[in-house]
Symmetry: D2
Subunit: 215 residues, 4 copies
């Protein structure tokens, strides 16, 4: 049975000229692997507006699975996120100048949502291909966490069974020419996201391997 | 009006011979600053048992405020925590060999709790004394997060108005002789925790200064 | 006029199953770009023996330029080295169990040698291709620095005008699956080393762009 | 027999309002421990001028030992330096706007000097007091390395037997309030430098314990 996976990627923010999340997911638009069909949409790095675009994309594509992707500059691995918290707290302005502080994403929503993706399976499958990956337990408090929380909130309200989650990815090498920061090649990111889509399509449940952060 | 602040600190774990959280809070046991009385109790670095000891300490001391403190080896600053998540995921065994994976702390509890302390005020006051401090948005998934979540869960059930939260502190210098890791002197930690107690006693509400993490 | 560039790479050490320096340079063995011919030899991660193998390789290939390459696990960029110091000080044993402490590489040699390669040009050309690179001012005190110093010492004694130097490269992604460390894809390393060879063949002198380390 | 130790510390640079090296060594001016007398002088964070001031201070105080101290923002430990290289390469301008690139400190000098202090002993004695310390094998290419090289060059020319070297120290906590960087308390730095002076006065030779950097 066919499964459709919707990817989203952000436009560049924070002075960058590219955003690896969009560079990666746009390559997967229209891509098919086995019975898994992938489509991609760009969302703006803007509070609320990103969620509006996401909701429209879900309506348009009617996906089985939604995987939102975002840049985590400074990380070294592909990091599927475990938790979205109900908090907007912007260290820098978003792409339209919004800088919310200490605000809930959804005033009536729960304090947090868990991912709906089998993230430990995804990490394991990505690593099998030689690409560094690890579960992350915090998606920050900027637009990435906002979109992740908003996605899970939306999916919890929809009458359909759509699963979803968020994956953070490092800078690509081109972004690190003038700063000392780790990076990962775009082709590895594309490969990792493809694996994530196929793994999520094949498995609803996750495995119970080790993990965790001491603090 | 007098206010009583209960501090807790952990026993050593992870191969360490001291835990700076206990080294610091034990110095505050019996200490009074203005109308703020401080008491301290040690809790074991053990899932569940730490919560049992915490509940007994709350019963015994009848505090107005509870501040649990834990070691965050590798951090450079005093970091009051914003969020406790409902997840036990232990990268290493606790001090009695428990290593839960993917388990809720409270099966019926909310996905997360927010701190009940004015953490931005606390950070600001600590920094005024020249001590590095910052809000943290993740307390990890080990016993520290467990105790923090359990504390907030307990306080939410008690008929009394007790406020509480969690503060992570770095290694002390003595712990870093054979590893390359940042540290902070014990006397600065004691001073910072004293400031935290006094600030929490004086203010229920927090300030709305900037903050946040991009990811 | 043809120029021959001899590359060397090390065998794996420190518990690794591959060494990216050999993985990269072996791909360049026999490769020609314009008038630049590249050959590659493996050297053992062993004090003294690495130098013996290097001297034989120089004799065998009669190169115009020698570029020794080594793994710098933890670095994020391609880092041509500026300085080799006359010191063996091994934090871990080499591949034959030698662990010299506080010993000169050459008892009568100078305290340090400078690279003979136009390393700022090389960095600039590598970055033009979107690959992160930076000059490094310390090659450590293990077998990499040993080989670099020994190379420059040898070249200073030979009656021929052979130029040479050392380039450190990061882990490849496959090496970082079970450790949190930055990496760079092998194909980018191969590309960067090719650029280094061509740039070194074309220019004896370096450019005077900024650089340096505060400490 | 009395031994006189001359300490130097720098004035603030790089936008800092204090320099921990001067804050620490000024506390040791006039201090006596056993037969060791300590004096301190400030040097400017300026190429050449720092050396002029150093030479005058040596002339004035006629010390047995000279220990120059500098700030290494970002380091976590007290780090006596092993090597000074004959290179000025300034990533930022010094306090008078000089920004040399690729220039020798002494055109006729050796490529590098080794420390004249028993730095492994010093590290060991500092650690015995619970203060993190480690040998460093690179002092950078800014004014700190410049002063260190210039000191060793001067001592090599003087007809007297004066020993000397350089110690880098981290930020103090007050400097890290608005940046995420490790720090060490000033009183620990003062204590560590006192230990360095006493150890250097008591021992000309060093011990042969492990050390080194892989790269």
């Amino acid at each position: 049975m066919e499964k459709k996976v919707l990817f989203t990627g952000f436009d560049p923010f924070g002075g960058e000229s590219v955003n690896p999340s969009w560079e990666a997911v746009k390559q997967l638009n229209g891509f098919t692997e086995g019975s898994v069909i992938m489509v991609s949409e760009q969302v703006p790095t803007v509070f609320d507006k990103s969620l509006t675009v996401l909701r429209q994309a879900i309506k348009k594509h009617q996906p089985d699975i939604v995987i939102c992707v975002g840049q985590a500059g400074g990380r070294m691995q592909i990091t599927p996120e475990r938790t979205a918290i109900n908090l907007n707290e912007a260290r820098i302005p978003d792409n339209e100048g919004n800088q919310p502080i200490d605000e809930p994403i959804s005033p009536d929503g729960p304090a947090a949502y868990w991912t709906g993706l089998p993230i430990k399976r995804i990490v394991e499958e990505i690593k099998k291909e030689g690409i560094p990956a690890a579960v992350s337990y915090t998606a920050g408090t900027f637009v990435c966490n906002h979109l992740f929380y908003g996605l899970m909130d939306e999916l919890s309200r929809l009458p359909l069974h759509i699963r979803g989650g968020f994956i953070h990815i490092p800078y690509i090498p081109e972004q690190t020419l003038e700063k000392a920061a780790p990076s990962l090649s775009l082709n590895l990111m594309v490969k990792a996201l493809k694996i994530a889509a196929v793994t999520a399509a094949a498995h609803e449940d996750d495995i119970h391997t080790g993990g965790g952060e001491l603090h």
